[in-house]
Point group: C2
Chain length 337, copies 2
């Protein structure tokens, strides 16, 4: 029998916690360590912080990344920030420990356009240490890019690519509802957008992945973010949005070529969204579309995509990878090590 | 600038012809040869036989496979038969010529269960010669397996997997309408099923691919084929099916474990089908489904998947590959060599 996959959870926020709980269900994985700099978490048991029913797990969260990475893990699941520049040192430290990485950092999902130097640096370090890394999740990583590229396999010509993701935030956790501005005035929403605190990160990365996959010579990527304002009161488990207040975000990213739109990605994430769904539409030969009614469920799906990517990244050639390159699939709870 | 991809078309039936026409549209491909044993085709120009508007192409079809394979191609597109035993010698000859292969042979799509020895033999030969091969198409290869496995990336647990493909054969070519028994009596249909002439090949291969991808310990794969009988007359461009006659096939393949169904694949292909679509449903955590309204268009999609797989197989590690392993995508007509 082979040894189990030795995994470290780096970052134990809400997403990191749900990833840790899911890893715990996989027979083939042993969680050997956890890293979080928050003094409220460091020193405590990972299972307890993650809210696992079977806690404690006997895995203590440490703020000392170097020390934990000394445990010779096969893979680090990294979930600390959306910003690639902010996590570069963390990622490089993991690579130096010769661990593969699956990260939820949205800007790592397809960094070649916004951060080509950082992408090259990570690729080189990963190759030097003989490991692979990838940034992924449900979005970016699946609903608005990988799924679209997969559907493109039945196409002969593509003139325009579109993906629309509509999420009813009413079923999501409170921090997410706040993060999208639910219950704010339009003024407050705009101020927070200006301050950079309200925004789903990752649409330009998905546009870039789609553009390269379809060989679209996109010369400009635009992005807009607007509030969705409710006409009538909406109540969730956590908060109430009054008529005229903000219910959430409406973001559109476009890939342009010579001033003409050839990629359109639209994300609506607000409390009370009526018809949640993931939709992909390709115009060309043939015209073809795909729908996931109800949409990929956000909280579940991000943890799923990340954990399902673990065996794939362990099997990938050394270097920086993206969801585009990887044959994603399912990592069964019963899979043997 | 790199050299173009040198491709050989092996088999110039209706599917081979549509593949050749599609390859012709790709800037990065040069078709250097074509093989077909049919004396009606050998000696003629490939473009003419393929019905291309820009024929002749200056590529002569030859019945001498060895001679054509001497042209040192990078890849052979192989489309001669659904039966793996029937094409083994053809495939081995291509591998010995150090050419990668993308084949429409349905039984090659996932041969490990039905033909484990042939699969091992092909894998070894491919590795010996340093090339890769794959059997693929829209079904098997996409609609009822790869798409399902891709959707599984958002799953945490899966209890049951289902795919349904409904095709309106009225929009397809005459040979296909005949192949599915359109216009026959039920008696004649059953006789032809017995004789093995009526059947879509590939459902058990898709079941096996799905089973292994989801780590389902399927101990039995069952397959049934029944006629779809029309209640009212249906007319197509080519033929008329009277009420009470057969309009096409209804095939169901199941993956069973301890007598319980855990995989269900259903193919309905008949003239006059009302709601053509490809549907995937996964029951588990979460329950999730996906629909391609109208379905992947059969004739177009098979050629698309095959040609879009060319750059992927050239990039794959040597050996026998399946759609499950390969990150499928789009091969742009404008892609540079």
């Amino acid at each position: 029998m082979k040894k189990k996959i030795r995994a470290i959870q780096y970052g134990v926020g809400p997403i990191g916690a749900s990833i840790a709980r899911l890893m715990r269900e996989k027979q083939a994985i042993e969680i050997v360590g956890a890293i979080d700099s928050d003094p409220e978490k460091a020193g405590r048991d990972l299972g307890e912080v993650a809210g696992a029913p079977d806690a404690p797990w006997g895995v203590t969260i440490s703020a000392d990344a170097q020390e934990v990475l000394g445990l010779s893990a096969d893979v680090v699941i990294h979930s600390t920030s959306s910003s690639l520049p902010a996590v570069m040192e963390q990622l490089l430290t993991c690579l130096e420990a010769e661990a593969c990485i699956v990260s939820t950092c949205e800007e790592l999902a397809y960094p070649y356009r916004t951060y080509p130097e950082l992408a090259a640096q990570l690729d080189k370090a990963a190759k030097d240490w003989g490991v692979a890394l990838v940034g992924t999740g449900v979005n970016p990583g699946f609903a608005m890019d990988k799924l679209l590229v997969t559907l493109a396999a039945v196409s002969q010509k593509i003139e325009h690519a579109k993906a629309v993701r509509i999420v009813d935030a009413a079923t999501r956790r409170l921090p997410l509802q706040k993060k999208i501005g639910a219950g704010m005035s339009v003024e407050e929403f705009r101020a927070q957008v200006q301050a950079g605190t309200i925004k789903h990160v990752g649409l330009p990365e998905s546009v870039a992945m789609v553009a390269d996959s379809l060989n679209f010579a996109v010369d400009e990527i635009t992005e807009s973010i607007e509030p969705v304002v409710t006409a009538a009161q909406v109540k969730t488990e956590f908060l109430t949005v009054e008529a005229g207040q903000v219910a959430g975000v409406h973001q559109i990213a476009r890939g342009m070529k010579d001033g003409k739109e050839i990629i359109y990605l639209e994300l609506q994430m607000y409390v009370g969204a009526k018809s949640p769904a993931d939709t992909v539409e390709l115009r060309g030969q043939p015209n073809i579309s795909l729908v996931i009614p109800g949409g990929s469920p956000g909280d579940i799906a991000t943890a799923s995509v990340v954990v399902n990517t673990i065996p794939v990244i362990l099997d990938a050639p050394a270097g920086l990878r993206t969801a585009r390159d990887l044959p994603i699939g399912f990592f069964s709870p019963d899979a043997r090590p």
